[in-house]
Structures are given as structure tokens and as C-alpha cells.
């Protein structure tokens, strides 16, 4: 029965192929209509209530807060530039889409190009957020009540898709993803954010999804933080954190609140694999309040370009205190926390061992907020991180993988 059917199909295909080769070559011409963008925004300035399309290649000046009402969509086409003045902010209650491309990213920046000069994206009660190939620079100006502002914040159970984008020089959290949001955060670069506090990706209160192939450089606090809820019962936060590269994070907040490459607390769940954590204050910290067994982890690489970091900040106090010497390798899995080294990890025991062999890295630890990043965290050939990843996620470790699925920056 089966065999008969297969042979029938083989015969049929052969017949069709013969007929095609015999037929005269046919040409097809399709004329695509030019579809105009929905509600094009033709004005050079934006502010107040906006919906529609920010047009490709156009530069807009934003003078006031922009509100996107429930049911409305604001879409930025590839290559749009938005210059934000007067510490303004996007307040999204509807749908926000920033559709940059590798060739033509979308750019949001303030007119002064200095850290902390505009308000970022308040998507607290948005309906959906999609951000692709978009540069979001220099956010973090205070709100009108003096409160700090994250670069982007979501507090509702909506779909949030942030891919291939840059978040640079903010003053607080880079991405604050709360309230049961379903997140896809892939292949982004988040760097030099947080003045003296703030995490790069702060995930709390029941958020679920994936955070992968991101590069996080010089964040004031923790690179990726997972927490369930401090105040009210919610469903557990549950996120897969894999193939991220975290470098020089956690130094600006001081010894009382050291930052981590990745932390998990208050019963957060997750899978933490294939990450490269270099020169961070602490590496992977699973807090006691997370409870054992909530987080699976392994195949992470920990490295430091020195054995210790000497924090001289206390010397400037009156009376001067003693400098703090941070034993970097002891901080990969900090004492007193639940995380312990895994056999699949690559854990540096000296400057000579476990080096992931970035293409270029200046070996910095503490950098000021808004510092430039002249490093290239692609892996050189022969990096121990190549081929040592957990294959469930990727054969390699870090954000730049040899299979091309990784970060494209």
C-alpha cells in the first residue's frame, strides 16, 4: 500500500518535470501598488497626542511629551530620527512599533546628546511594544515629580519584543519589564547606563520570556536581574537568560550594593546558560530568598582581567576609611548565596585561565555613566567559549556565536 503510493508520486513528479522542460519559458510581471503609510506624520515636530507613522528617513523634533492613546498606534519607519527636547517622554497607552533595519536604524536621542536628558518610553499600560534596530540614547531625565525614569518600562501583561537595538547612557534601569509582560529581548546592546543605580534589564512581578544574545557593558547595577515580587503575590517571574555577554557591570553602585552579571531573587524562576560574565563586581548570584531549585544554570563563563579590584572611594570620606579590595574571582558565585560553580561552567582561576578572548577589550572595571565603549566582544578563534555552550540554547557561549544566530552589532 505505502510503497504503491510512493511510486505513484514519483511517477507523477517525473511527468510534471518532463512537461515543464518541454514548455516555452513564461515571464511574469507584477506591478506592486505603492501602499502609502498609514496616517503619515508630515510635520517636522511632534508632541502631545500622536498616532500614525513617523516616516522613513525623516528627522522629527519632539518638543513635548508624546502620548499614544489606547487603540492608537505610533510606528517609526526605518531610518527615522527623533530628536527629543525639554526632557520629554513617550507615554504609550496604545501600540508602539519602532521598525528599524540593520541598514537604517531608528534613532531616539536628545538634542544635547548627554546622558539623562529625556524621559524614554513609559509603556506602563501600553497594549504592545515592538522595537527593532533602534537606538535609544541618553534617557533618564527626572519626571516632573523628581522621580527617576527608566529608559523603557512596561507593567502590564502585554507582548514586548525588543530586538537588535541599542540602549545607551540611561540614568536608571535600561529595560524595566514588570507586571507579567511576555518578553522577547534578543541581540540588543545595553551600555553605560545607570548613574549610580539601575539594572540593564530589570525583570520583576511575573514577567516571562527570553533574554538572549544581548551585550551589556558598564551598567551601574546588575546586568540582568530576575525577581518575583517584593510586595504582592504574583505569578513567579520565569525567564530564560542565555548567551548574553556582560562586561564591567555593577561598579558604580558602591560596595553596599554590588552589581551582578545576573541575579535571581524572591522565588524567580529561570534558566541561566551560556552567558559570558567578565570584569563584573559579582558574577551569577542566586539569592537565598530565591530558594533552591528555582533557577537552572550552567555553561556560563566567568573571567576577570585582574585578581582584585581596589575601590578607593572610602579614602575620600572624612575621616578616611580603608580602601576596599574586591576579590574578583571569589565573586563569580558570591559567598552566602545559593549559586555554586557548575562542572559545565568555565571559571577563571587566574588572569591566564578562562579568558573568553574578546576581539578587543580594554580590561576596564569601573567606568563613568555614559562612557564610550570601544570594545569588540566578538570572540576570537580559539576562544574557550566556542563549542562549550549548552546546545539546548546554543553550541557557543556569549552573545556572538559562530552559528550567526547571535548579536549582529
Amino acid at each position: 500500500m505505502k510503497t504503491k503510493q510512493i511510486s505513484f508520486w514519483i511517477a507523477a513528479i517525473a511527468l510534471v518535470a518532463t512537461m515543464a522542460s518541454c514548455a516555452k519559458k513564461e515571464t511574469t510581471g507584477i506591478t506592486k501598488p505603492v501602499i502609502p503609510p498609514s496616517h503619515p506624520i508630515n510635520s517636522d515636530t511632534i508632541g502631545s497626542f500622536e498616532k500614525g507613522t513617523l516616516l522613513a528617513g525623516k528627522t522629527y523634533t519632539m518638543n513635548h511629551d508624546v502620548y499614544v492613546n489606547i487603540g492608537d498606534t505610533l510606528l517609526a519607519q526605518a531610518g527615522t530620527t527623533i530628536i527629543v527636547k525639554n526632557n520629554s517622554q513617550f507615554k504609550i497607552q496604545g501600540v508602539f512599533q519602532s521598525m528599524g533595519t540593520q541598514a537604517s536604524p531608528v534613532t531616539f536621542d536628545s538634542d544635547t546628546h548627554t546622558p539623562g536628558t529625556w524621559g524614554g518610553f513609559a509603556c506602563d499600560s501600553a497594549q504592545a511594544v515592538t522595537i527593532q534596530w533602534t537606538k535609544i540614547l541618553n534617557t533618564g531625565g527626572p519626571d516632573a515629580t523628581g522621580g527617576t525614569r527608566r529608559t523603557l518600562v512596561v507593567s502590564k501583561p502585554i507582548k514586548v519584543d525588543i530586538e537588535d537595538s541599542w540602549v545607551e547612557n540611561g540614568q536608571d534601569d535600561g529595560l524595566g519589564l514588570f507586571g507579567g509582560a511576555q518578553i522577547t529581548v534578543l541581540r540588543n546592546t545595553i551600555q553605560s547606563g545607570g548613574s549610580t543605580d539601575g539594572e540593564a534589564i530589570n525583570i520583576k512581578t511575573g514577567t516571562t520570556g527570553t533574554v538572549a544574545y544581548n551585550v551589556i557593558f558598564s551598567q551601574a547595577g546588575t546586568g540582568i536581574k530576575l525577581e518575583t515580587a517584593k510586595v504582592v503575590t504574583t505569578a513567579p517571574t520565569n525567564v530564560d537568560v542565555y548567551n548574553n555577554t556582560m562586561v564591567s557591570c555593577g561598579w558604580r553602585r558602591g560596595a553596599a550594593e554590588p552589581g551582578r552579571g545576573v541575579s535571581a531573587g524572591v522565588s524567580a524562576k529561570g534558566n541561566v546558560f551560556n552567558n559570558i560574565i567578565v570584569n563584573c563586581y559579582h558574577g551569577l548570584e542566586i539569592f537565598v530568598d530565591d530558594g533552591a531549585g528555582n533557577v537552572n544554570y550552567g555553561n556560563n563563563l566567568f573571567y576577570s582581567t585582574a585578581d582584585t579590584f581596589v575601590d578607593n572611594t572610602p579614602l575620600n570620606a572624612t575621616p578616611p576609611g580603608a580602601a576596599i579590595t574586591v576579590n574578583l574571582r571569589a565573586g563569580y558565585y558570591p559567598a552566602g548565596a545559593l549559586g555554586v560553580p557548575q562542572a559545565s561552567d568555565i571559571i577563571s582561576t587566574s588572569v591566564a585561565t578562562g579568558n573568553p578572548m574578546f576581539k578587543t577589550f580594554d580590561g576596564s572595571f569601573l567606568n563613568p555613566n555614559g562612557a564610550a565603549n570601544n570594545n569588540d566582544f566578538h570572540l576570537q578563534a580559539g576562544s574557550p567559549a566556542i563549542g562549550k555552550g549548552n546546545p539546548t540554547y546554543n553550541a557557543d557561549m556569549g552573545a556572538y556565536t559562530s552559528d550567526g544566530k547571535g548579536n549582529k552589532h
Binding site: Y67, T233, A255, A337
Partner: protein, 905 residues
């Protein structure tokens, strides 16, 4: 400015006493029918500024009467007037025993001619007995003899009343019959007071000194002529009235608190505090500079505080042939108090299969407060003739608070890792200095006019104003971490890092203009008396609240790192929001409330039964304007009208006992700010968001009470009540803003309150026992988060916020007339109280039962001088609040001691 108002002038007075062969009139005043002494009845001689009140045995003495012929008059509530001509000779001692007959027609009406005695215990009992509604009255005499120095202390000893205090203890509000302060109203001389609170309509009772009060009345049922916005009850603070003859009293005392014997008082400099914020001083758009912010008010020093001191003075007299009465009194209190609190905040434990709360923070807070109260009352009354009287009352309450608060908060879970082993964790320090100046004024002009034999007209116009300014409330935040390395067995403490400084300037003003007019018609047919009364009331309230806030952030080190905090003078900061928050602050709002009311009521009095009833219509128009984010509501108005019927029956079982049955409908309006839908900024912690859809609460109230007045100063009450509330307002979980939890005031469908109250006062010779007990049951269907399924909401039946199940007060009294000595030991027991609502079902913040003991005594050491002492909280009672299975807060205030001298002329 304010201070100047308080430099009251001392009245210089001279008394020319003529010592000669003058006569004396004395005797006993009793009820004609019951033969009971009529304590408090005032006897006066027409042509002389000379009067006397009968004591608890009915005895009176009028001495030093120049020989001649006089008319003796007696006025006493509920009794027919008495007049008799007497002739007194030099050196005569004339004995005149008087029997008064009850005059049912006069019951509880305003007698424009005679002043009713109001300040002694007998008068308080007479007031309770004869009133048209159910009330409890505390006389000035009882207050003076009690351990209490402010109205809040006094009220907590009233049957069915408990006091809600804020942390630090400077604010106190009355909870009546388990109904929290929102369900009650507070009056001064019968008129509602403007509120100094920035968000609510409440007035703290701790700013009202007890020594200026004539009495405190707690009305537990309403009559149509009363404001309808009280479900629990009405607290009416009646200030002193002009006496019938010259009276001068002065009191001074000093005291100390055990708290500051055991620890130091945290003080800070007030010298540099700027009254106005940088944007208020320089106009909007001003870019604040680091140097615009003072440092000395964040420089805390530990001192040994000077003693608490109180001083009061009162002068009352009558002029112009007794037509003009004056009373001026001032009370000054300079108090040092504070508290030590340790507590644990809790949240749901995801590891607990039941998701019950567990500790996530441990905090220690030490508060040091100095409060200066300076209160001036003036009263003038003018008796135009026997039928017309005008009175003017002004009450000015000034309060200044200087408070230092130190908090150390250790994260047990969350934040940056919490506690690993005991003694470890991230610790956040908040040191805050607050000063506030508050002034409340209540001015009332009233008139009583007997129009004819049957008609009486009365009216008042009142202005009430409350203003508060908090200049530069400053707090500095810093943090350390204590870690433990099990491999080396070492604890490590990091330096103290400088986080942030917060500076807030705020002020608010609440202003009421109100007026009322009533007309009364009285008539009688045989033994039946009918009184009809109708009237109208209007109140216009406007208020604003302004707040400006600046955040100062430390300058990072050159390397970019957070710096270590050394001291306030070397701290370097930048102004994070240099424009301030004055233009856009969630606490900036204007509100108004107009209330128009009309009522008609009747009182039908048969020999044994009195039926009192009527209906009141209250029409409310209220709203607010808020300056905030343009996508949120900026203006909300609400209009509603309530028809509030009431009926009550008073059945006179015999001359000394009444049985009362009452029904009334009443309402409670939401606090102003509870309607304002501000969206708090998305920072951590918890915040409160208003709810413009909040409805006002309405209630049906039923009361039954048996009253027995065996003697003039004795009583026995037993009663029961039942209340049905529609749309009660309780705080519930209202979602998240960022990672912060939002609470919102919400209406539950219904609440029921029922209870039993018992009160008594009894004397055996020199010994007396006075007490009361209240049992309260309440049930509200609150909306809660289902702890096992957080996206779902469940209904939880529980007691009302503020309700206590048991409330017991017992006072052992000793009075010895011969030794001129009085003493009182006051004991209080308060059962479990629900003080806060936890967002998940199954748990709430429960204050544990507490008992406290106070003592007071006075001894007359000469004709004019009395020595007294008031000792409070002798058992060092802790206020402990429990959440689930751990201590949420444990506040210690310790004992206070006061010793003073009273002068009476």
C-alpha cells in the same frame, strides 16, 4: 507673624474687697418631686454680680452680700424659673431651701436669660439625661481631675470611643463604635472645623488642650438639626463660656518623659530653614542650584531635652450690669515626646504553598518630637434683654511640630539580595527632619431670639480656617551592606554610601464659611407639649494643597562611583530635578465642597414618653482640580443629595431612668484626596491612588439605651446599636505601577456594625468607680487579591479598619472634701484592633490587645492654690501590630510624668 497673634495681653485687674459686716445666703436646692439634690443649679442675686452653683448635695452658699433687699433667681435646665424676694441684714446668715418643679416645656431649649452650668459632672449627667439624642458628656471638672492633657486623651476614656494615632503620636483621631475617623465628624462649639490635613477632612484631637474645654460631647445618634455626615458619631468640643461672675484661673506644670531619661532626644537646627522652596522664591522656571539647599536642618545632634511645660490662663467676667460676658483663655504647651519602633514589613511568601506573608524588611525607627501648642479662645456674649442674646466665640489653635526621625531598614528579601544569616543584609538609613506650623481658627457669631411666647429664632454664621506649612521637610538616605563569609566566619560592613536627599515644601489651606438659621415653635395642650423646628444650613468649603519637591543626588566620584557619606557639611550634590515639582505634583490640588441642608423636626412630649423625629436633606456638591499628566482627569465634580430621616423615643421609666430607642440615617463623605486619581510615579514601594468613582457612604443606624441617673453625679447606661453601611470605604490593592504596589480607596458593598455599650459611675463615700465597656462586632465584605491565584479577586469578610472588639475603661476615684484631695487611677484595656488591610486574602494588620495605666491627683494647698500631678502610660504599654505570624510593628512611647500647680480665683 503667627507668634504675634499669641502675645495675648494679660488683663490687669484689681479687686477691691470690702470686708465688713456683710450677709450670707445659703441653703439646698432640690427637685420638688424626686427630692433629689439639683447639683449645678445656679442661684444668683439679681442686682449683684454674685452667683453660686449648687454642689452635688444641692447645697449652695452666697457670701459677702451687702445688706439690702434683693431678688434671688435660679435657672436650671429642665426646671421652671424661680424668683424670690429676700432681705438681708448686716451679719445675717439666711437659710433658703428651694424646691424646683420640672418644667417639661423648657427641656433642653436655649434659655437666653440664664446661663446653664456646663462644666461640672452633675451638669454633664443632666445634659445626657435631658438631651434629645443619645450622647456621652465629659465635663471640664472630670477632665481636670483626669490624667489627660488633651482632647484625644480624654476621648479615649469615653464609652465606645478609641483613638487612632499616627506613628510618632502627634496626630490622634477618634474612632467611635469601631468606625474609623472618616465616619465621624469633629465640631468646635457645634460647628465643623476646617481640616489642616493635606489629604483628609480630619482634625487631630491632640492639638486641643483639655484645660480650655467646658465639656466634650460625643453624640451617638443624630437629630435632623445636626450635620448628617456622622455614622459613628459626632465629637463636639465645647470651649469655655463666660462665667456668671469673675473667674480667674491659671495653671502651670512641668513634666518629663521616661523615653528621654532612657535615650537622648535628636535635635536639629531650625535656624536656616527656608520657608519657601526655590521655585516659590524665584518663580517657576528657576534652575535650582546645590547651594539653594540648607544643610543645618540635616545635622542631627543628640541632646537631653528640657522638661515639658504647660501653662494656661483664663479670665472670665461679666460687665455692663451682667449684660456682657467675656472669657479669654490661653493655653501653652511645650511638649517633648517620641517613640521607638521596631517592626517587620511582610509580603507573600512564594515558597509557602499557602502564600502567607513572611518578613521582607526589618526596620527600627526612633522619633524625637517637640510640639508647641499655643491656643487662644475668646468668648463674648451680650444679653440685649431677656429675650435676645448674641454670642461670639473664637478658637485659635496653633501647633508647631519639630520632629527628627531616624530609620534603619534592613532588607530580608529582595532588593540586592536580602539577608543571608542573622545580622546581615543591605541596610538603608533615612534620617528626616520635619517642621510644621499649623493654625486652626474657628470664629462663630450666634444669636438667640425669643420672638414670642411660641416662637424662638436662632442663627449663626461661622468662619473656619486651617492652614499648615511644612517648610523643607528634609530627608537623607544612605546605605550599607553587612555580609557574612561562612568560609572565613567573618562579618563585613561596608562604608555608608550617600544615596539621595529629598526636600519637600508643602502647604495647604482649608477654609469654610457656614451659616445656619432655625425657627422653633412650641405649644402645649394639657400635658402634651409639641415643639416644631425647621431650619437651613449652608457651608462653602474651598481648599488647596501645594507641594514642591526637589531631589538632590550625590556627585559621583571622578571614577563614576557612588560616594561614601561623611557628614552633611561635606556632602556634594547635584539638583536632579532643578525645576522642582511645584508645577506638576500629584499632591497639588484644589478642592471645593458646598453643602446645603434643610430639615424639619418635631418633638412631642407626653408625661412619660417623648417622640422626636424629622427629616434632613443634605445636598452635596464637591469636586477638585488637580495639576497632573494631561491624559488623566484634571477636574472631577460630584453631586448628590441625601434624605436623612430619623425618629427616636424616650420613655421615662421613672424620675431617674430613661429608655431610649432611636433610628437615624446618616452619611460619610470620602476624603478630598481620595477622589483624586493621581498616578504615582513608577518607583518602588507602595503608593496610594485616588478613585474618582468612589461613592459616599450611607448608613442606617439603630440604637437602644437604658439610662439610670441615681444621683446627680452618678450614672448607669447600657445600650446596644446596629448599623448598616452601604458603600463603606476601605483601602484595597489596586494594581501595580512599575514595580510599586498601588492601594486605592474602594467601596465595599455593605458593612454591618453591632455592639453593646455599658457605662457607670458610682460613689461609696469618698470612693468612686467609673467605667465603661464596649463590645463591637463589625463585618465588611472587602475585595482582596486571591493569594493562591493573584490574578483573581476574592471577597473577604472581616472587621472594619479601626475597629476594636473590646474596649474597657475603669477609673478608681478617691475624693476627700475635707482633705481637699482627689485621686484617680485610670486603667484602659483595648482588645484586638484591625489597623491595616493586607492586600492578599487571609491576613490583615492586627494591633494586639493592650492595657495601660494612668494616675492623677490633686490637692488644694490653700484657698487659691491646688497642686496636681498627671502620670501617663505607667505600665510602658507597647503598641504591637502583628501580620500573620510575625510582629509588624512594636512601638514604645514610655511613661510621662507631669507635676503642676493650679490657681483659682
Amino acid at each position: 507673624m503667627v507668634k504675634k497673634l499669641y502675645f495675648f495681653s494679660f488683663f490687669l485687674f484689681s479687686t477691691a474687697l470690702v470686708f465688713g459686716q456683710n450677709g450670707t445666703l445659703k441653703g439646698r436646692i432640690i427637685d420638688e418631686e424626686t427630692r433629689q439634690p439639683l447639683a449645678g443649679a445656679i442661684i444668683h442675686i439679681d442686682d449683684l454680680a454674685n452667683s453660686s452653683a449648687a454642689d452635688e448635695k444641692g447645697n449652695y452658699v452666697l457670701s459677702n452680700i451687702t445688706p439690702g433687699e434683693y431678688v434671688v433667681k435660679i435657672n436650671f435646665i429642665g426646671y421652671a424659673g424661680y424668683e424670690k424676694k429676700i432681705k438681708i441684714g448686716a451679719g445675717d446668715v439666711l437659710v433658703l431651701n428651694i424646691q424646683l418643679s420640672q418644667d417639661i416645656q423648657n427641656l433642653n431649649t436655649v434659655n437666653v436669660v440664664g446661663r446653664l452650668p456646663t462644666e461640672n459632672e452633675a451638669a454633664a449627667r443632666a445634659n445626657e439625661k435631658n438631651s434629645d439624642n443619645l450622647k456621652n458628656v465629659v465635663s471640664a471638672q472630670a477632665i481636670e481631675k483626669s490624667p489627660d492633657i488633651n482632647a484625644a486623651n480624654v476621648l479615649q476614656r469615653v464609652s465606645g470611643v478609641t483613638i487612632q494615632r499616627n506613628a510618632g503620636g502627634d496626630d490622634s483621631y477618634a474612632i467611635i463604635r469601631g468606625l474609623e475617623p472618616r465616619y465621624n465628624n469633629t465640631l468646635i462649639n457645634g460647628v465643623q472645623i476646617a481640616s489642616p490635613d493635606s489629604k483628609t477632612r480630619l482634625v487631630s484631637l491632640s492639638v486641643v488642650p483639655s484645660d480650655l474645654l467646658a465639656r466634650i460631647e460625643v453624640d451617638k445618634t443624630l437629630t435632623p438639626e445636626m450635620d448628617g455626615d456622622a455614622i459613628g458619631g459626632t465629637v463636639n468640643l465645647v470651649f469655655k463660656d463666660a462665667p456668671d461672675k469673675r473667674e480667674i484661673t491659671a495653671t502651670g506644670s512641668v513634666g518629663y518623659g521616661q523615653l528621654f531619661i532612657d535615650r537622648k532626644f535628636a535635635d536639629f537646627s531650625k535656624a536656616d530653614i527656608k520657608t519657601y522652596s526655590p521655585s516659590e522664591t524665584n518663580g517657576p522656571g528657576y534652575v535650582a542650584q546645590p547651594g539653594d539647599f540648607t544643610r543645618s536642618n540635616l545635622d542631627f545632634k543628640n541632646i537631653t531635652p528640657p522638661p515639658t511645660e504647660t501653662f494656661s490662663f483664663s479670665y472670665g467676667d461679666r460687665f455692663l450690669n451682667n449684660k456682657l460676658g467675656l472669657l479669654i483663655a490661653n493655653s501653652y504647651q511645650n511638649l517633648y515626646f517620641g517613640s521607638n519602633t521596631e517592626g517587620d514589613d511582610g509580603n507573600a511568601d512564594p515558597n509557602d504553598p499557602d502564600h502567607r506573608p513572611r518578613i521582607n524588611d526589618i526596620y527600627n525607627r526612633a522619633i524625637s518630637s517637640r510640639q508647641i501648642l499655643n491656643n487662644l479662645i475668646t468668648h463674648l456674649d451680650y444679653r440685649i434683654n431677656d429675650k435676645n442674646k448674641i454670642t461670639l466665640d473664637n478658637v485659635l489653635l496653633y501647633s508647631r511640630l519639630e520632629e527628627a526621625s531616624f530609620t534603619a531598614d534592613t532588607s530580608i528579601t529582595g532588593g540586592n539580595g536580602g539577608r543571608t544569616v542573622p545580622g546581615t543584609g543591605p541596610v538603608n538609613f533615612i534620617n528626616q527632619s520635619t517642621t510644621s506650623n499649623q493654625i486652626i481658627e474657628n470664629l462663630k457669631l450666634a444669636g438667640n431670639h425669643v420672638l414670642s411666647k411660641h416662637f424662638l429664632f436662632d442663627w449663626y454664621g461661622a468662619f473656619s480656617d486651617a492652614f499648615v506649612r511644612l517648610p523643607d521637610q528634609a530627608s537623607i538616605n544612605s546605605n550599607i551592606a553587612i555580609t557574612y563569609d561562612p568560609s572565613t566566619n567573618q562579618f563585613t560592613k561596608t562604608p555608608d554610601y550617600f544615596d539621595e536627599i529629598d526636600r519637600t515644601w508643602s502647604h495647604n489651606n482649608d477654609k469654610d464659611y457656614s451659616g445656619a438659621a432655625n425657627i422653633t415653635y412650641k405649644t402645649s395642650i394639657k400635658n402634651t407639649f409639641l415643639e416644631l423646628k425647621a431650619g437651613g444650613f449652608y457651608r462653602d468649603k474651598t481648599r488647596y494643597n501645594y507641594e514642591d519637591e526637589y531631589i538632590l543626588r550625590p556627585v559621583a566620584s571622578t571614577a563614576g562611583e557612588k560616594v561614601v557619606f561623611s557628614d552633611i557639611y561635606s556632602a556634594q550634590w547635584v539638583v536632579y530635578n532643578p525645576y522642582g515639582a511645584g508645577e506638576f505634583n500629584v499632591n497639588n490640588y484644589n478642592a471645593f465642597e458646598d453643602i446645603t441642608a434643610f430639615y424639619g423636626q418635631f418633638k412631642l412630649t407626653f408625661p412619660r414618653l417623648q417622640i422626636f423625629g424629622g427629616v434632613r436633606n443634605e445636598i452635596t456638591s464637591e469636586g477638585f482640580h488637580v495639576r497632573q499628566d494631561i491624559t488623566n482627569a484634571s477636574d472631577v465634580t460630584k453631586n448628590y443629595s441625601d434624605i436623612l430621616p430619623s425618629i427616636s423615643f424616650k420613655y421615662k421609666l421613672n424620675e431617674i431612668a430613661n429608655l431610649r430607642l432611636a433610628y437615624f440615617a446618616s452619611i460619610a463623605r470620602p476624603a478630598y484626596y481620595e477622589l483624586v486619581p493621581t498616578v504615582p510615579p513608577s518607583t518602588g514601594g507602595t503608593s496610594v491612588e485616588g478613585n474618582p468613582n468612589l461613592k459616599h457612604t450611607t448608613a442606617n443606624n439603630y440604637d437602644l439605651r437604658y439610662e439610670l441617673f441615681p444621683k446627680a453625679d452618678e450614672q448607669f447606661f447600657i445600650g446596644a446599636y446596629y448599623k448598616q453601611l452601604t458603600n463603606p470605604i476601605e483601602y484595597s490593592y489596586g494594581g501595580n505601577s512599575g514595580s510599586a504596589t498601588i492601594y486605592q480607596p474602594m467601596n465595599s458593598d455593605e458593612a454591618k456594625v453591632a455592639g453593646v455599650e455599658l457605662a457607670f459611675t458610682r460613689y461609696w463615700g469618698n470612693f468612686g468607680l467609673s467605667g465603661n465597656y464596649a463590645y463591637n462586632y463589625s463585618d465588611v465584605a472587602g475585595i482582596k487579591v486571591d493569594r493562591n491565584n493573584p490574578v483573581a479577586r476574592v471577597i473577604e469578610h472581616r472587621m472594619l479598619t479601626g475597629a476594636s472588639v473590646h474596649d474597657l475603661n475603669l477609673s478608681f476615684l478617691y475624693r476627700n472634701k475635707d482633705a481637699k484631695f482627689n485621686a484617680e487611677v485610670a486603667y484602659q484595656y483595648l482588645g484586638k484592633t484591625l489597623v491595616g488591610i493586607y492586600p492578599d486574602n487571609g491576613d490583615n494588620y492586627i494591633q494586639q490587645p493592650l492595657s495601660s495605666l494612668a494616675f492623677s491627683a490633686d490637692k488644694a494647698i490653700s484657698k487659691h492654690f491646688t497642686l496636681f500631678t498627671k502620670l501617663n502610660n505607667l505600665t510602658n504599654t507597647h503598641t504591637t501590630v502583628v501580620l500573620h505570624n510575625f510582629q509588624n510593628g512594636n512601638e514604645i512611647t514610655k511613661a510621662t510624668y507631669l507635676l503642676g500647680m493650679r490657681y483659682n480665683y
